[in-house]
């Protein structure tokens, strides 16, 4: 009898165990979430001291609830968002409070009978106008919360002034408690393990770029794998193919990037970020990366089918195609590294040069080998992949340029061991020396200066 009971108890526990596992995972993914929860709890406990300590309670009275209310609605995950809401709330309360008092005095002129009607009309008109202003994009983006609080405070002050006698004292109490709540939030969110929206944006852009890079680095090898190889690989030990799908999160990161950039605008300088860090440039880079990811989506369709043929043509383009893809990937990885380290993207220029060489190589292979050699329907997918890869290389170049702009704007450091740009003295593609059966179709030679008075010859087998 005991075992079925235990089993059914275990069954009942299953959803709870699942939930606990989920919560543990959430905490592990980003431990700052746990920290944030304790920060909010700390802020609320601090402002509720107003009630616990008799001297404070005597000064503030019941207005203390406004301090708690402010903390609950103002405290956001990132410091920028908290600052944005706190400042919006403070300023809007001041402005709306003053206007509300004005409306109250204005309505009194009309005598006690008409007062409520005049007040009602004023509230109606101002609320309608303010609500409409929330549809104006610029206001929606930066001051939406402020307008909401403006509507709230104006209505409260104008309307409750009709009944409450010493409205000035009420206003003073309420404003001071709101300032107390807002200041508590801002101080805790900036001083206790701060989560900076700007830093998060920086990290997001870097990690998205790394995802794009991993896809490109792996793509060449993946698509030129024969179906046979794929099967045998599946049979023995499933390799990790997650790098091929990771880029998909880049497709939909626009909203996230924009909200982070918006909050970053409110943040003071911190760490390596100055107050006027060029956050807009991050949005530009993000847009270019999305452009790149759109091309990946087109490419991805060809991965499922893979090239079923092992024709002569496929063998010939395989080398330069793989180089094109993997070098573009390396260039992106270098760019991500340079953003991460706040340094000039000097190394990527070289990878982009190698990419371009591979593009030329593919083109000359195409031109040389086509005349009536193979089944056109069979090579169409290969040609399409090459075309799209070509577009991707162009995309990577524009990303490189945008990051160069960012380095200028944000004064990224130039490494003392490197010249400003790797100075390519000579670059070219030579015919392979090895046996013709070798898969690698070409050798790229690039001679460039890596430090003054020293030359390096880089040889690359595709």
């Amino acid at each position: 009898m005991e075992i079925p009971l235990k089993a059914s108890l275990l069954k009942m526990n299953a959803p709870i165990v699942d939930l606990v596992k989920k919560i543990k995972k959430l905490g592990k993914e980003d431990p700052r979430r746990i920290m944030h929860s304790f920060k909010v709890a700390l802020a609320i406990t601090l402002v509720s001291m107003v009630y616990y300590l008799r001297p404070l309670y005597k000064g503030m009275g019941e207005a203390g609830i406004w301090a708690i209310l402010t903390v609950v609605v103002v405290f956001e995950y990132t410091a920028g968002a908290t600052l944005c809401k706190g400042m919006n709330r403070g300023l809007a309360t001041l402005l709306a409070g003053a206007l509300g008092l004005g409306a109250e005095y204005f309505a009194r002129i009309f005598g006690p009978k008409a007062e409520s009607i005049v007040l009602g009309c004023l509230v109606f008109l101002l609320v309608a106008a303010a609500t409409f202003s929330r549809f104006i994009p610029h206001i929606k983006k930066r001051y939406d919360y402020g307008v909401l609080i403006f509507i709230l405070t104006f209505s409260l002050v104008a309307v409750s002034g009709y009944r409450v006698e010493n409205i000035m004292e009420l206003a003073h109490q309420r404003l001071s408690t709101i300032i107390l709540g807002g200041a508590t939030c801002i101080i805790i969110s900036i001083c206790v393990c701060p989560v900076w929206a700007g830093e998060d944006l920086h990290v997001l852009i870097v990690s998205n770029m790394e995802k794009l890079a991993s896809f490109l680095e792996g793509f060449g090898g993946e698509i030129f794998q024969l179906p046979l190889e794929v099967e045998s690989a599946d049979g023995s030990n499933e390799p990790d193919k997650s790098f091929l799908g990771a880029y998909k999160s880049v497709l939909n990161s626009k909203a996230m990037e924009e909200s982070l950039a918006n909050f970053a605008w409110w943040e003071p300088g911190h760490g390596k970020f100055r107050f006027s860090h060029p956050w807009k440039q991050y949005l530009k880079i993000g847009a270019l990366m999305r452009q790149c990811a759109y091309h990946f989506e087109s490419l991805n369709g060809y991965l499922d089918a893979r090239f079923q043929t092992s024709s002569e043509f496929r063998k010939r383009v395989q080398g330069p195609c793989t180089t094109m893809s993997s070098e573009a990937g390396k260039a992106l990885k270098e760019l991500a590294l340079s953003i991460k380290a706040f340094s000039y993207p000097s190394n990527s220029a070289m990878n982009i040069q190698i990419c371009k060489k591979a593009v030329d190589e593919v083109n000359s292979t195409l031109q040389a080998s086509m005349v009536g050699e193979c089944d056109i329907l069979e090579i169409i997918p290969i040609i399409t992949v090459i075309s799209i890869l070509n577009d991707i290389v162009k995309c990577v170049e524009t990303i490189f340029e945008a990051i160069e702009e960012l380095s200028e704007q944000a004064n990224f450091k130039k490494s003392p061991h490197e010249p400003e740009k790797p100075q390519i003295l000579h670059g070219g593609v030579v015919a392979p020396v090895g046996d013709k059966e070798d898969d690698s179709g070409f050798v790229t030679v690039i001679i460039h200066k890596i430090a003054p008075q020293s030359l390096e010859i880089q040889t690359l087998r595709g």
Copy 2:
């Protein structure tokens, strides 16, 4: 002297005039925005009656401010969002109020000295746990606002119970004013010119599909236009090319679609939408449309360059390519129409059949005409465009299937004049009969039943 003064006054007015123009444009774009502003103002004016009317004020007292506060924060643009916030607020207030009272009584057990410490600890723990729960995706999606209000109410009740004597009366007053405010919002937002999130989602999906369709319908003609023609067209009268860029808004509509679907879930049945309308299927269709738009982005790059050659090859594929693109566009337009009219997508099946024929035609043209005829580098862009168009036709097919599913789930009406699906009896491509110089490369013949016992032969010149 007067004229410069006038001029400078006009100059000073310029930003104001700009603003007025902007506001007028916002109102014209969607007159429901103006209506919404007046609805909010009406709701606030109504609940502020609590203050103006003496008998009401005596019943509610100062708790009336909670009614105003509730209206300001709960009243959202769409009925679904208002319902979501209103229900969340109401339920969270009830639950948190009860828990807060419980915490208060529990803390009293420990005697007057320890009471504040026990209360502080309880508040700290519960607030931390509730704040963390806002990171759980399911809760964030549907109950985020509820948890926020839970934190607020629990802290307020637990903490202020420490000072206020008759806490039960306070709780009763506050709850009734919140219900008053919430009910006012919900009634006004549903009864006065309601803006339904579900209807907006429906319209958004239809308009996005129309944008995709316009691009496809215009693309074929645009890309096979010779540079010479483009120039002459520019010279005389700039034609409207906006249809080529309109699809870009589809790329970033995910966040919008998800929030609308989320709010639509809360809405009661209205018009042609039942309570359990399959909103999730709209999200699926939206995702497929985005997939399609990603391919457009790849295609779009080739529009700028256009095909500079007027080679034999280009002439041969031009016909079927244009058909492929425009028929895919027509299919999408039919699909959009059928969603708009809540009817089965019967007509689109035919367009998709014609598309597929065009694909076959292009493939056979490719196969027949390639052997060493033309410069491979010149035709690579054409081949790429064909490949991507091919992928787009596949995308359109999956969109068609998803919409068929939607029709099943939402019980779309089947037109009495049409069979369930156009039953294609025979379809094929025959060689053109006209003179060989004609640009149109083929004729598609499709024989299908349009009504029982009647046959139609459709002839289509590419």
